[in-house]
């Protein structure tokens, strides 16, 4: 029990070299799944413990916090751990089948190794209570995702990866500068200590500058409009399972970091409107919703369409954050979870399509609704959830977001949210129309293999379940929001 708060990071981190040592594809796959499931179980146990007994602090190697590295699990991090590790585990199940289609045989073991490193790093970012430690994990996750993206079949994958690398490195540099400035001012990197020290130096320009660097660096990692330019290509050309994994986990982790910075690290420093943070977040959120949705509607490649859709959905999440209320934060946290479910389901369904027909252009979808009914039913339900239709998880997010805007009498934001949903409907409809109108002609296509269909439908089922009974996602998100607002009233 004592070592629990580090297990979720350690398991995938140690499993990676083990995979490499065996150097057998099937074995690497099984080890990866086992490690991810282990991480998931640990995360769930942590969530239960935190919900009952409050935050857990773990001191690496037994060294006390300010000397050693502290891992700190509160409701927010436990919730994100559960989301990321669960999705990470689910995506691994079809990973081998997809890898066989899309990744060179010589690279498949490395694929699992890198995947595990990326998962470990994402979980590390969420678990760590030390800003520099977070930066290190952020870099591990970034480097491993560059590799994962570059494994794509298309030669453009390399370009996408390089582009992401350049922008990601700029983001990382911003974050490092921010951390440096903070350290120069306070002499500490422990988040809890930092938040205490920052109260002393209120009004310091260095601190505000540090925040700006950190926030912009994080927004780049988050792919918040207009810093999203790396994302569409990366998701389009990456192997499908990597797109699914990154879409469901990586942006969520970046958003976690932004929330952590705004509430746990800076908190009071940002009070009294020293920075127009709320206005900026609201503006970027709204722009992201419209720009992302419109761009998505204009795409002819489904992966790119859903990549732009992610930009729009990130807009929704940041919108909730920009409301700066417990209700808004709750809506954001609920949407982080629900969006992971819907985008996971959608990208997995796309993986099934890639497995069968090798491509996901809209023009290739003609008549496939008939040939692959289960895959397309998954896309339809995932799409409905994305729109926010009642009885799907997406509705719960939208409902809470709308409530949060109404609580502050921001009617126009309600209209923005509803229009955003309408635009989402527009591009989902294009897919459906393409799949059911026009006949496929002569080519014979069969349904995606069971190993891809099962996890897809697991996530589709989760979309429906958490649309009918959202008590888990609501109660945990509310608890996390209350906790964050409580620490920085």
């Amino acid at each position: 029990m004592l070592q629990l708060p580090i297990l979720q990071v350690l398991l995938p981190l140690l499993a990676a070299p083990v995979c490499l040592a065996f150097n057998k594809e099937a074995l690497a796959w099984l080890i990866a799944i086992a490690a991810a499931i282990g991480a998931t179980i640990t995360s769930v146990m942590l969530l239960v413990m935190v919900m009952q007994g409050g935050p857990i602090s773990y001191h690496m190697g037994g060294w006390p916090a300010l000397i050693g590295i502290e891992y700190r699990i509160d409701v927010l991090s436990a919730w994100l751990l559960v989301i990321v590790s669960t999705l990470g585990a689910v995506m691994l199940v079809p990973a081998r089948a997809c890898a066989i289609r899309e990744i060179e045989p010589s690279q498949r073991v490395y694929f699992f190794v890198t995947y595990l490193l990326c998962l470990a790093a994402l979980l590390g970012i969420i678990s760590s209570g030390d800003l520099f430690n977070i930066f290190v994990f952020l870099e591990i996750s970034a480097l491993s995702s560059y590799i994962l993206i570059a494994m794509g079949k298309d030669r453009m994958a390399l370009v996408a990866s390089i582009r992401y690398l350049v922008l990601g490195t700029i983001g990382a540099t911003f974050i490092l500068i921010g951390i440096g400035l903070l350290y120069s001012k306070t002499g500490t990197l422990n988040i809890k200590d930092l938040s205490l020290q920052l109260r002393e130096v209120e009004g310091s320009r260095t601190v505000l500058t540090a925040f700006c660097f950190l926030a912009i660096g994080t927004m780049l990692k988050l792919a918040l409009f207009p810093l999203h330019v790396w994302l569409p290509n990366a998701y389009t050309y990456a192997p499908s399972i990597v797109s699914a994994f990154l879409a469901a986990t990586a942006t969520k982790t970046a958003l976690y970091l932004l929330i952590r910075l705004c509430y746990s690290v800076f908190g009071e420093t940002l009070q009294d409107g020293v920075l127009p943070l709320e206005e900026v977040l609201l503006a970027l959120g709204i722009l992201g919703i419209f720009a992302g949705s419109l761009m998505a509607a204009a795409q002819t490649n489904l992966k790119r369409m859903f990549a732009y859709s992610s930009v729009a959905q990130i807009g929704f999440m940041v919108l909730g954050l920009g409301l700066a209320s417990a209700a808004g934060l709750t809506a954001t946290l609920i949407h982080i979870f629900n969006h992971a479910l819907m985008k996971g389901a959608l990208f997995l369904a796309l993986a099934g399509l890639v497995y069968r027909i090798g491509d996901v252009r809209l023009s290739d979808m003609a008549g496939l609704g008939r040939a692959m009914p289960l895959t397309f039913a998954a896309i339809v339900i995932g799409g409905l959830s994305l729109i926010g239709v009642p009885l799907t998880a997406g509705f719960i997010s939208k409902w809470y977001l709308v409530q949060a805007t109404l609580e502050q009498d921001m009617w126009w934001l309600t209209v923005v949210i509803l229009l955003g949903s309408l635009l989402t409907g527009l591009y989902i409809f294009r897919v459906i129309e393409a799949a059911w109108f026009r006949d496929s002609g002569t080519k014979q296509v069969s349904e995606a293999p069971l190993i891809i269909l099962l996890p897809t439908w697991l996530l589709v089922g989760a979309n429906i379940y958490f649309g009918l009974d959202a008590s888990l996602s609501i109660s945990v998100s509310e608890a996390a929001a209350m906790y964050l607002m409580g620490t920085s009233p």
Partner: protein
């Protein structure tokens, strides 16, 4: 025990859809099953009707996704009326559809019957909805499940019609209806249908008026202008779809939602006080007149019927907004009366298409000789829409007219009469033209019409239209139960 029967009303059609999908290779069994399920559903509906006292006490909760927002069902008189209309007409339409789809050699019949059953299931769920949230959910399910039916032809015309259909119905419900529901939730704190309305007595008149306007234009299925274009667009669908869904289930779901919102969210007393309801009633009256004029000029038979439906739907909206008790009773009765008359007309239009491949009114001259029974049925259906004896439409039109006179709205009364006059021209002219001599000597003598499932369905609904003139009691009782006691005019 009683809750089981109510749930069965909703679940049976959905179960039928699932089974139908597995029976694709056995068309006979598939259609026998559809028909059997329809007859069973009538049985259940009648059983529910005969035990209404107990059934109305049951409330069923399926899920509660967010605290306060539940998917729940409860039976009331208005819902019972809608259930009876929909369940009685489903098997008749199935009978008709079997004849029509086979005569036309339509492809994809299995999915057709499955989506059809799902649409009926959602219609019944709308009829039983205990709150606005449940109503909204199944209202959307109904839109989505009818989209594959509208686009059944899969050609360019179907694609275009389907786009208009989906865009207007989803567009109005997301941009107007959903904000109206959210606004109701914020102002009243509840979405449950409640006698006398949910708003507090001191609620702001301006805000309530805005909500009412949002509801009236947001319930796009009730086709108030300028949000009516989806209905003519939906006419690309096979005729059985136009008949049951776009003369009964879908459009009446809109009318039904309008009545529910007016009576049980706003309350008739509150509605009578709002100046906005009069203005919206004028918009409805304008829609009635414009729709009638367009119908007059429309040569395509199905589109003419669609514009006639738009006019008749706005009668219902108008009656609900007037908020006098006789207007409201008239509106509620019109749900049933118009349903039987209009479905007869659509059935006839489909039969004409199958037998003579004619879609235009101007081509129908002399067709009465080949299809005398069909044309007589068309005549009866037309009388039902115009609202003259011996058809059920007489009663609903009578109450509606009384209601407009009660409220002293002379202009509205004139609009109603004008539209009735126009409908005499655009509907009754069709059977008259059909029985005119063609002038050519080749088509001499009467050719007896062959008995077919389609003709049987046509006869059943036209007989029902006449029966409702002589026995309107059931419809009247169900329609007037919701109106405050003592307010209703005796017959």
């Amino acid at each position: 025990m009683f809750d089981l029967w109510l749930q069965l009303l909703i679940l049976l059609p959905f179960a039928t859809a699932a089974i139908v999908l597995t029976l694709g290779r056995f068309p006979n069994i598939r259609e026998a099953l559809s028909l059997g399920a329809g007859v069973m559903l009538i049985g259940i509906a009648l059983w529910v009707y005969s035990n209404m006292g107990e059934m109305a006490l049951v409330s069923i909760v399926w899920a509660e996704p967010v605290p306060g927002l539940s998917l729940s069902f409860k039976l009331d008189e208005l819902g019972m009326l809608f259930i009876l209309v929909a369940t009685v007409l489903w098997p008749i339409t199935t009978l008709y559809a079997i004849g029509y789809m086979r005569a036309h050699n339509e492809p994809r019949q299995t999915t057709f019957f499955a989506w059809f059953a799902i649409a009926i299931g959602s219609t019944l769920a709308i009829a039983l909805a205990a709150n606005l949230f449940t109503l909204f959910v199944f209202y959307e399910v109904l839109t989505l499940s009818t989209y594959p039916l509208v686009t059944h032809g899969r050609d360019e015309a179907a694609k275009k019609g389907g786009r208009t259909y989906l865009m207007i119905l989803l567009g109005t419900s997301i941009t107007f209806l959903l904000p109206a529901i959210i606004g109701t939730w914020v102002m009243a704190g509840s979405l449950d249908f409640k006698e006398g309305g949910v708003f507090a007595a001191d609620a702001s008149v301006v805000q309530i008026s805005v909500l009412l306007a949002l509801f009236v234009v947001g319930i796009g299925k009730a086709a108030i202008m300028p949000f009516h274009r989806w209905l003519p667009a939906a006419m690309v669908a096979p005729t059985p779809v136009s008949a049951l869904l776009h003369a009964v289930a879908v459009v009446k779901a809109g009318a039904f939602a309008m009545l529910k919102v007016c009576a049980l969210i706003f309350g008739l007393d509150l509605l009578a006080l709002l100046p906005a309801s009069t203005w919206l009633a004028y918009l409805a009256a304008l829609s009635i007149v414009i729709a009638s004029v367009i119908a007059l000029r429309e040569d395509n038979l199905k589109r003419r019927l669609a514009y006639s439906t738009i006019g008749q739907l706005n009668y219902i909206t108008l009656g609900a907004l007037l908020a006098t008790s006789s207007a409201f009773v008239g509106s509620a009765m019109h749900i049933a009366m118009h349903a039987f008359a209009k479905i007869t007309l659509f059935f006839c239009a489909g039969a004409i298409l199958v037998v003579s491949h004619k879609t235009r009114v101007s081509e129908l001259t002399g067709l009465g000789r080949r299809m005398p029974l069909t044309m007589i049925a068309f005549f009866i259906g037309s009388l039902g829409i115009v609202g003259v004896p011996p058809t059920g439409g007489t009663w609903s039109k009578w109450y509606l007219l009384m209601g407009t006179l009660d409220s002293g709205q002379w202009v509205l009364a004139i609009a109603l009469m004008l539209s009735s006059l126009l409908s005499i021209v655009y509907l009754l002219a069709i059977p008259v033209r059909a029985f005119l001599p063609t002038g050519s000597e080749t088509e001499a003598g009467w050719i007896p019409e062959r008995m077919s499932p389609m003709l049987l369905a046509i006869l059943l609904t036209s007989i029902a239209t006449i029966t409702l003139f002589f026995f309107p009691q059931t419809v009247f009782e169900l329609a007037s139960a919701i109106v405050p006691a003592g307010g209703g005019h005796g017959r």
